[in-house]
């Protein structure tokens, strides 16, 4: 069968509503896939818009650095935290970024194991997003320390004090969970890129890029043995990463769940956090994919069908998360626990405190995704983008609520207080967006943003042994 014929077949099949070939790039051959994606890195001149966004991101990043310097010089008192609310924006942002970092590994690991072909065109983006989001997340637990220069006391290392970390503390679990997650994700991401690095090496014209990509490709020669080992390793890593998707946010949730605070002391937290993480992760992927596919002209790789399937996941995870809200409230009211009841009632009606945020959150996280029941909206990029951004904002506020409402209304009314952000709280959070934007833009420019080898694998004819059936 000639390539042209196979493309034709693909087109025909795409018009149907089912079948995995819905996600095959239309009108592409092996060569054109490689050509197009590699060209994004090697060939194409950097456009002005990229520079503009990078400049904006750099400004934010520089501001982030300045804020960090000021924070280190003055102390965490520049934020609005106090007693009783000892954690707020920093930990909120930490949980939020970690949550965003969830979609990447989910898409790359779990969906690989589930043979979801549609993941192919977005997995690289999602993985990169994961890496950068976890980087952003990682800065916050460090910065929120009163004495950040002693952060390494949380690590188990032999020392003259003969002290280990205190292993019962969820913060120590965090250190392990997040660092494991980060290293596995990084490995997964990098390993997935090795064949593509080799392609770039081979296609690069300039010497320096040949050297750079050559080093990154680690001597990949496209031999069958390489492919065999690569596939095996990829699968193993996927298997390894899968439990991490669940574990990392479960562990993060135990920062709250192991405590005694009303509203924190909840068994529902681990699954609830994971659900929320997936929700925000997918929202971020959608929010990134929509502008990217237009800017880089890769609508054929990331099709509306891709967006639609992600929209469905968004809707589903929104339900998971909202179930968490419902369950919290329900369990509280059925338990009759005085302190919990007060906290959960105050979440809903304490308008002098945070109730307004609660209702906005519910609108963002639960009501807005309901639009996605309708197919027209699922396939409408504008609607999808707006819903994703709302979900992202909603998930941030949800974490904010979770932390502040409990702390500000716990056991002794004498100590009740509230948290109000200072300008430094906001700048620290916004600054971390700068870190994300800059790293992500650099990724888009210098690394293959879609997996060439896997995209080729989707094309008809790539799996000759299956063709005949």
């Amino acid at each position: 069968m000639s390539p042209a014929a196979s493309i034709k077949t693909a087109e025909v099949r795409q018009s149907e509503t089912s079948g995995e070939l819905r996600y095959v790039p239309v009108g592409h051959t092996f060569a054109s896939v490689t050509e197009k994606i590699a060209e994004l890195v090697l060939g194409r001149a950097t456009r002005q818009a990229w520079f503009v966004v990078l400049a904006a991101g750099t400004v934010l990043l520089l501001m982030f650095s300045a804020v960090i310097v000021y924070l280190l010089a003055k102390g965490t008192g520049i934020w609005g935290i106090n007693v009783p609310v000892g954690w707020c924006f920093a930990i909120t942002s930490f949980v939020w970024w970690i949550g965003i970092g969830h979609a990447g590994t989910l898409i790359s690991a779990i969906l690989v194991l589930l043979h979801q072909k549609w993941r192919t065109s977005i997995n690289r983006i999602a993985e990169a997003m994961t890496i950068f989001a976890v980087m952003c997340a990682g800065t916050f637990p460090l910065l929120h320390l009163g004495r950040p220069w002693f952060f390494f006391w949380l690590l188990p290392y032999p020392n003259t004090m003969k002290l280990w970390p205190q292993f019962r503390s969820a913060l120590v679990w965090d250190v392990f969970a997040v660092s494991t997650y980060f290293s596995v994700s990084l490995m997964f991401w990098y390993m997935g890129m090795i064949p593509d690095f080799a392609t770039l090496r081979d296609r690069a014209v300039q010497r320096r890029w040949q050297v750079v990509y050559g080093m990154l490709a680690m001597g990949w020669r496209n031999s069958a043995r390489h492919w065999h080992r690569y596939q095996m390793a990829y699968l193993l890593l996927a298997g390894l990463a899968t439990p991490l998707v669940i574990s990392v946010h479960s562990v993060v949730s135990s920062d709250f769940a192991i405590s005694l605070e009303p509203g924190w002391h909840e068994t529902v937290f681990p699954p609830y956090f994971v659900a929320g993480a997936l929700l925000s992760g997918f929202a971020m992927v959608i929010a990134l994919a929509i502008p990217m596919r237009h800017y880089y002209g890769i609508e054929d790789f990331i099709s509306v069908s891709h967006l639609e399937v992600m929209a469905k996941i968004l809707l589903a995870t929104s339900f998971f998360t909202s179930y968490g809200y419902f369950s919290e409230q329900f369990i509280t009211w059925i338990s009759g626990e005085t302190y919990d009841k007060y906290v959960y009632l105050n979440i809903l009606i304490g308008f002098r405190q945070y109730a307004a945020v609660t209702w906005i959150t519910l609108c963002c996280v639960f009501i807005a995704p309901q639009l996605l029941w309708i197919k027209r909206f699922r396939r409408n990029e504008k609607v999808l983008f707006v819903v994703s951004v709302l979900v992202l904002a909603g998930m941030w506020m949800e974490r904010y609520l979770l932390i502040t409402t409990s702390l500000s209304r716990d056991f002794l009314p004498s100590s009740w207080g509230i948290f109000q952000p200072t300008v430094w709280d906001i700048l620290t959070y916004v600054g971390s967006l700068g870190l994300f934007i800059v790293t992500f833009l650099l990724f888009c420019r210098f690394l293959p943003m879609i997996s060439m080898c896997e995209m080729r694998g989707l094309l008809p004819g790539a799996r000759g042994h299956e063709e005949g059936r």
């Binding site: 250190v175 192991i258 005694l260 002794l412």
Partner: protein, 1044 residues
Amino acid sequence: MSRKDLATDLAELEQALQGTSGRQYWRSLDELAGTAAFQKLMRREFPQQADVWPDSLSRRHFLTLMGASLALAGLSGCSVKPAPMGKIVPYVQPPREIVAGEPLFFATAQPLPGGAVGLLVESHMGRPTKIEGNPDHPASGGATSIYHQASILTLYDPDRSQTVTYQGRTRAWTEALATLRTGLEKERDNGGAAVRILSEPILSPSLARQRERLLKSLPKAKWHVYEPLLQDARLEAMRLAFGQNLDCHYAFNKADVVLSLDADFLGSEPGNLRWIADFMSRRRIRTPASDSTQASMNRLYCIETEVTCTGAKADHRLAVRVQDIEGLARAIASKLGVSTAGSSGSAGPHEKWVAAVAKDLEAHRGRVLVLAGNRQPVAVHLLAHAINQHLGNVGQTVFYSRPVTEGPSPRIESLRELADDMRQDRVRLLIVLDANPVYSAPADIKFMDALERVPLRVHLGLYQDETARRCHWHLNEAHFLETWGDARAFDGTATLMQPLIEPLYRGRSAIELVAFLATLQETPGEELVRSRWRDHWNQQTRGPKTDDAFDAFWKTSLHDGVVAGTGFPIRNVALENDWQRHLEPQASASGASSRPGDESFELAFAPDPTVFDGSFANNGWLQECPKPSTTLTWDNAALMSPDTARQLGVELGEYAHGGEHGGFKMPVVELKVEDRSVLAPAWIVPGHADHSITVHFGYGRESAGRVGGQRDQKVGFNAYAMRTSSQPWFVPNVRVTKTDRTHLLACTQQHNLMENRDLVRSASLEKFRQKPDFASEPEKQKEIDETRRAPAPLEFYPPLEPPASTPKWGMVIDLTTCVGCKACVVACQAENNIPVVGKQQVAAGREMHWIRVDRYVGGTAEAPAEFHFQPVPCMHCERAPCEYVCPVEATVHSAEGLNDMVYNRCVGTRFCSNNCSYKVRRFNFFHYADFETGSLRLQYNPDVTVRSRGVMEKCSYCVQRIRHAQIDADREERPIADGEVVTACQAACPAGAIAFGDLSNSASEAAKWRSSPLNYALLEELGTRPRTTYLAAVRNPNPELEGG
């Protein structure tokens, strides 16, 4: 090292300053004198002492200094013996009593309005660091108030006046004395007719004697006395009732029923420690459950306006306007048959209350006590005396003696006379001793204008205050911890005051100055005090009058902190027959029923519960100490009831940064009386009387210092500006208008209600008798036990079993006796080097107090039924929620059950604070501790780490005191005895509401309290197993008034 060398520094300094001109502040001089040498000089804390370090060290000299490291360890370098008026040289042989690291305690006394309180001052290597009460002193009994605790900070206050100044320019003492000498010599010819002295009421016998000497040498000179907390009504009533000036003493320990007519005798007034102790000795319920029917208590009725500690502890409290109290007093008196003059005998809406009180008073004849507050008019005082006499209380619970103060009685007339004389140019030389009338005189006296007419004005004081700034000469006074002196307690008992440290800034005492004025010669204070007491001793002693014998007397008196046998004898007095004549009929016989118009309110004045009359304004500990009933810090406010606030349209404004645990932006109201007006932020106080607005004195200072307010940065508003001498305590009609302005008020607790949580458990005495274990909730416990399947409480981690001999430290706090005075808060601050964070940080919810006093209102905020105080230190939970969440083991459990905080290990995650159910942990969000100000560094307790930024801290049960006792016990190979470890809060508490000790020793006080049926743990259902527990509050309401 010659004396000359030692003195060079100051001489050099003075010389450097001579060249400057214009009004200069001491703090800005270093900017002026820009030479490097001068800069260096300025940076040294105590230049004259620091000079014992010569620039080059010979070997011999070095060895000498090594031996003298003691003196250097205490940077102030003064002698540890409290007789440091001579120059200081290092020890060659250290004194016997000094052991490095072991503090010494010296007895002294702090003169405060109403009488001195005996103190024991802890001294570390010659530097006083902490103040305790003197158990042998009648006014202290071992307890202290916030003022005593905070006075140590005043000693080291860097804003204290450090030199003599003439029109703002630095001068030497010699110059000032020379000017005075010339001035006085000029006046001597006409007998000093143009010389005036203004002082506060004289508590010191030595000062009184110097006064006599001065008046002898200048027979026509006049000595005036002024005290801002005017007690003209009290003094006038004494004169009318008894024909003489007397002081009234109360035996609260003998009174079964107490009626307070606006008298805040449990409040934070300085002289009331003994009253609190005596009163609470009748409210301690220590009976076991089996004997509960035997339990008895006294009963307190209180009629007052704002919510004071007394009102909060009262069994029945009636909140009415200040002016309405007279009507109620008359009604009670008439019910008792004391006097019917000017009373219809009816108390309007409070008829039932008044009748019940009168009946109760009648029923306890001879064991009753009626007190009238300072603010009340003459009639109320007269009635109080009469009721006491009528019920046979005099000689039982009420006693009279000659007044404690000597010299003229502190009446407003004295000040007015002085002002008139000044205005008519009859005064050529005015000497103000430690008083600040420019700030605190009533507005109608216009003291400041009169003062400006005096050609030579001299001020002696601790600060360059408002009066100092308007005097030609300001002489820097020595702090009471720096000088020799003496002072009488409320009952006349005298205490010799000894210096704990050489005057930091070469200040002198009032005694020394007046002696100089009298003799024109300088005499050391020690000699003056000694000779005063030598004469006393010569009269008293029957034995041989040798110097040695006197020395023994002197030493004993110094050591004990009291001069034996100096208490005043009780005078038997009876009311003058015609006393009723002075009860002018009141305009409205039962004022309680009259209601003024809607926009007219009563304005009531009161001393501030923390900064008092303003003399403590520059003390950060007191500024930051939350005021008992409002929890406000760093401000005074127009206090009003919720109802009055509604009428005025006042509501809680926008949250400050920390929300309710931080404060609110409150609307500012304008208070206007005649042509005087003041802008004051409003604050809503549940329980305040309606239609009345209370403002506290002590704020709005123009030159108190960096803490208490300066001209361009005032703290609070000045309530004295609204006061006249004719209406010194309340103005019946003040116009109140809400303005558009707002002002941030920082408070530490605004949420008043307990939200149906059994945090403070309380019951009436009747209920306790029937069900002594009401607090421990046995039913609830039983239910829990029955529903629990597992036989023992579930434990995930195996318990640590310490060896049997290990003490098990625990604390019990008696909520019945706690009066909410905050002495524990400030004592803890002094003991544990707790920083002051400032108003903005308090507003952000970051105050650092290790122990706080929670305050709850029972009933509703609109109509509070009762008030509760609950001191909350760290609970030292056996299953501490903070410990398992710390990632670095910075908070760990000791074998003795202490929840220890390891500052060095803390990285500051704040997880422990978040997970603390009691929110007692405090975090150093910034670098709060002051490492920069040299003089403040001297105050630090060397046994306690000064925490830096990013570290969590909290109550340690004064672990340094435990270790100290343990080391002593170990050395003597014995267990620590009960009562050997006394925590700072416990030591300060005047009510004896805190017990601390080894719970494993069933004979210990704490263990006994803990076995009381009243014992309960806060939030015990969480399973934290606190080591700090509470004894539930028991009240003794009158059954007749219950439910009504």
